[in-house]
Amino acid sequence: MCFGPFPLHQTMASRKESAASGSSPLETPVKQIQIDGLVVLKIIKHYQEEGQGSEVVQGVLLGLVVEDSLEITNCFPFPQHTEDDVDFDEVQYQMEMMRSLRHVNIDHLHVGWYQSTHYGSFVSRALLDSQFSYQHAIEESVVLIYDPIKTAQGSLCLKAYRLTPKLMEICKEKDFSPEGLKKACIGFEIMFEEVPIVIKNSHLINVLLLDLQEKSTVADKHELLNLSSSNHLEKSLQLLMDRVDDMNQDIGKYNTYCRNLSKQQQQKQQYLQRRQQENTQRQSRGEPPLPEEDISKMFKPPQAPPRMDTLLIAGQVTCQSVIFMGRSLF
C-alpha cells in the first residue's frame, strides 16, 4: 500500500508565523476535530469515483488549529499513481496544489491526511510510519479514516486518529524489541488515540438539511435492523480470521524465540559454572585461573523478532472486532 501524501516541511516554515500568534500546538494537544461538511463530501466523492473494491484512496487535509481544536476546512485528493508513470513527482504535486489553493484564498496549511479503508483493515505498519512522519513534522496532524462500506449502509463512518505521545517516542527511538516495548509499557490499546469529530456546516446548509429531513420518508430507518448485511459480516469475519492467523504466527515466532533464549541462558549458566569449578580446582592446585573470555561472543543472543508488527496486528484485530460487532449490531 502506498501512502502518498506526506508532510511538507515547507509548510511548517510557513506555519511558524501564524502559529506565533495562536496558541502553541505543543502545549495543548488537539482535543477535538471540526470538519467542514465540504471535506466530508469531498472524501466520499473521491472514494466513489476512484476507489473500487479493496483499493484505497488517499488525500491531504488542509486546515487550521484554533485553540485546542483542529479545524479541517478543505482537502484535496491524491491521485492514484500507477507503476508506469514514474516521473510523477508527488512532492511537486502537493506543492502545486497547495500553492494554487492559496491563490484562491483557501486554507493551505497541511494538517493531516485521509484514507479510505476496507472493512476496517487500516491498522498497518505503513499507516503507522506515515502518521509518525506527519506528527513528527506537523505536531497537530491527524489521519481521517473513512469506511465506505459502512457509509453505504447508511451510517457515515469517519474516524480521526493520532498516535499517542508514548508511541511517538518509541517510533522516534525505533526500538521495537520486546524489552523496549516492555519498558515503554505500551500495548495495542494505547497506540492510537481517537479524536472526537464534529462536523460543521454553514447555517444555510443546516437549513437545507432540515428542509430535506421533513420531506424525506421515515421508512428507511428500519433498514438498520435488516440482516441483509450478512454478506459484509462474512467478509469481515473472514478478514478477522486472517488477522488472527497472522497473530498466531507471530506468537509462534515469538514463542520459539523465547525458547531459544532460555535455552541459551541455560547453556550460558552451565558454561559459567563449569568455568568456575575449573578455576577453583586450578586455584587449589596453585595454577593461575583461566583467562576470562568474552561470553557474549560465545553465546550470541538470538535475533529478537520485532514486536511492533504483533502489536499492530493486535490493534488491527481489536479494531476489526469492534467494527464487526458494530456491523452485527446494526
Partner: protein, 898 residues
Amino acid sequence: MISEDHVTLKTGVMMLKIQDLLLSDDEEDTKRVVRSAKDKRFEELTNLIKTIRNAMKIRDMAKCLEEFEQLCRAFLKSKTIMDKEGVPQFYIRLLADLEDYLNQLWEDKEGKKKMNKNNAKALSTLRQKIRKYNKDFETEIASYKEVQSCSPDAFTSSSGSDDDDDEGITAKSLLKKKPQEEEKKAPEASKFLKGAADEESESEDDEESEDWGSDSVDSGSESEDNEGAAASLAVVFLKKYDSRRKKHKKKERLEEEADEEAEAEEGGWEKVKGGAPMVKEKPKMFAKGTEINSAVVVKKLTEILQARGKKGTDRAAQIELLHALAGISNENNLGEGILIKIKFNIIASLYDYNPNLAAFMKPDMWKKCLECIDELMDILFANSNIFIGENIAEDSENLAISDQPFRVRGCILTLVERMDEEFTKIMQNTDPHSQEYVDNLKDEGRVCGIIDRLLQYLETKGSTEEVCRVYLRRIMHTYYKFDYKAHRRSLGLQGETKSEQDQEESEGEDSAVIMDRLCKFIYAKDRTDRIRTCAILCHIYHHALHSRWFQARDLMLMSHLQDNIQHADPPVQILYNRTMVQLGICAFRQGMIKDAHNALLDIQSSGRAKELLGQGLLMRNMQERNAEQEKIEKRRQVPFHMHINLELLECVYLVSAMLLEIPYMAAHEFDARRRMISKQFHHQLRVGERQPLLGPPESMREHVVAASKAMKMGDWRTCHSFIINEKMNSKVWDLFPETQCVREMLVRKIQEESLRTYLFTYSSVYDSISMETLSEMFELDLPTVHSIISKMIINEELMASLDQPTQTVVMHRTEPTSLQNMALQLAEKLGGLVENNERVFDLKQGVYGGYFNRDQKGGYQQKQSYQRGKHHSHQRDPHRSRSCSPVLLTCVGWMQLL
C-alpha cells in the same frame, strides 16, 4: 591381454587370424605371431629402448620424454612377467644411462641455453620423472653401476652385443640375429615369392622373418632343418613351428601320440591359410584324407575358440567356422556329444557377436540363434543319454561315442535365459509402432516354445534350482497376457462360434492353472528370494488381470511385499509397480473404488507413472542423470507389448478420485480441517477452473473435470454423459475385457455418489424429501436409496431421520449456516491462539510476566458468564489469555446475537 598370452604360452596353440579367410587373393599379410608372452613384451621394451637411445643421441628431449612414458607403460603391462623373470638387465641399463645422460645435460648450462623451449621443458620434466622412477630400482641400478665400474667396456659397446648375460632370449638378441637369418633366407624367400614378388610382400616377409626369429634362436638346430626343407618356405616354417609346439606340449600335456598326425594335417591347413588363394577352400577344415575323429574336431574347436574375444577377430567368420565344423562333425557321424558342444559354442559366439551390452542382435543373427537353440533342444530330447551341466569339468567331458553317456560342459538354461534377454532387448530397440515390431513380436511364440521345451527337459533332468529359474522365465512370459480362451470359456461361449482351429487352440491349459502350478512350485522350492518375489508379483498381476480381485489382494497382503519392496532391485520394483497398478485397475473393475484409489495413489501422486512403470523416460535435465544412468534406465524399460495403458490408468484413478472426493467435499464444505483425498484430482479441478474459456471437453481429463462439476450439483445424468460417451469409450473403457460390466458398474456408482452429493449439498434447503422422488431423480430403486440414506444417517453425515409411513427423509436442520460455520472456525482459531499465548506465558513466568500483568485485571473475568455453549467450552486461566481477550469477547458477544 596378459592372461591370454599366458594361454598361448602354455598350450602353445597358435593364434589364428581368421580374418584372413575373408581377404582377397592378392592381399597378403599373414603375420603369424608365435611368441611367448615374454618375448613379445621384451621386444616391445627393447624397441622402445632403442628409440630412446636414438633420441638421446640427437638430443631430442621431447621425443625422449614421450618414449620414456611409453616405456613405463609397457613395463607396467608386463609386470606379471617381470615378477616371474625379474627386471631385465637391459631395462635397468637404460634407466641408469638415461639418468646419467640427463644429469650430464643438466650440468651443461651452455648446451641447455641452446636448446629450444620444448626440449628444455621436456628435459626438466624427464629429469624429475626419471629420478622418481629410478627410486624403485635403486638397488638394481646400484649393482649395475658397480658392475659397470668393474668392466666398463662390457656395456659401452654397442647395444647389439651386450645382452648375453640376460637369461633366456631378449628381443635384442633377436635383433642381433635377424640379419643372419635374413641372409640365410633371402634366396629362398625370393624363390617362394616369385609369383607375386612385389616390394610390399617382400617387406611383409621381412616382418615375418622377424617374427619367426625367436623360434630359430630358441631351437638352434632348427636352422639346419631350414636348409634341408624341400618345397616351400612356408611349409618349412610351419613345420618348424609345429615341432617347436610339440616340444611345449610335451611339457604340459600328455595326449600327443594320437594327435601327431592331426598336427601334421593342421600344419598343412595352416599353410593353406597362410597362402593367399585359400579362401575358396574355407569350408574344408581338414586336409583330404584325414581321418576325422572327435579328438581332431575338439582340437579344432578349441583352436577356433582361442581367438574368441581377441581384438581383430572377425566374429562373423568365427561363427561360420563353427557352423562348418558342426557340419563336418555331422557328416562324419561323430556323435551328438561333439555336436552339442559345437552348438553350445555357436550360440555363445552368436551372443558374443555384439561386444556392446546395449546393442541388440541383428535379425538374421537372432533367427540363427533361435534355430540353433531349437536344434540343440531337438538333440537333447532325442538323446536321453546326454548329460550337460556347468559343473562338468572340461577334462571330464565325454564327447566320443562310447558306451558311457555323453558328458558335455555347458548350461542350456543360461543360454535360453540369455536368449530371452536378447529378445527383450530386440523388443526394446524396435519402434513399437512399426510393422517390424509386429514381426519381431511373432518370435515371441518361438521363444515361449523354446522355454516350454526347456521346461520339459529340465523337469526331468534339472535340479530344483534350475527348474525354478526356468519356471520364472515361463511365468514372465505368461503373467501379462490376458487369457482370452479362458475368458471365453468362462462366459460359456465356447461351443457356439468356434471353428475347428480355435477349438484346437483352446485345448491347452488355462494360463491361470499354469501360473498356479508354476508359482506354487517356486513358493515351495525356491531358495533365492528374488525368484520368489518375482513369482508372487507375477501371480498377483495375473490374478488382477483376470479380475480375481480377492485372490490377488490376499496374495499381496499375505506376502508382505509392501513392507520391504524398497530394498529390491529396480527391475523388481518396476514389476511391483506394475502389479500395484494392475491391482488397482482390477479393484476398479470390481467396483471397489476405494481400494482402487488406494492402490493407484502412490503411483499417480508422484506424477511419474511413466517412469515408475518402466514405460519410458521422463525428460529431465542432465544434472540429474548422466548418459551412463540413462543407458541403465533404458535397459530397464518394459517392452511395448507389455505396457499398461497410462491414459487408462490415469482415467481410472481420476474417476475413482471423483467418486470419493466430490461427496466428501460436499459433506465437509465448511470444515476448516478438511483434507484432500486426492491432490492430483484437485489439481485437475483447479486447472479446469483456470481455463478462461470453457469449451466442450476434449481430453480424458477434461471429461472427468466436467463430470466432477456436474456431480457437484448432483446432476448425475450430465456426469454420466461426460464419463461414458463415444470418446471416452474409445479412449478408455473399451480397453477393458468386460467393457459392459465396467460401464454398468460405473453408472451405478455415479448415481449413488451423485445422490449422496445432492443430499449433502441441498439438505439445508429441504425440510423433508420423499425417497420416491429421490429414487426417480437418480433412477435408483427404492431400497437402494433407503440403504444409502440410512448409511448416511448412521454415519452422522446427514442430520435427518427417516419417516417410514410416508417414505420421506426429514431433515433436522442442525447444520450451521456459513456464517455460523465461519464463526466456529474463528473460535477454533482463537482457541489455538490462546493456547499459543499460554505457552509464551509459561515460558515467561517470572522473567517477563510484567508485560501481560497490566492493569486490566478483571475485565475478562467479569464477562466470563458469556462463555457458554459448546463452542467455547475450553477452560482457561483468565489471567493468561489477556492479550486476546477483546477478540474473544467480541466473538462471544456476537454468538449471543445470532
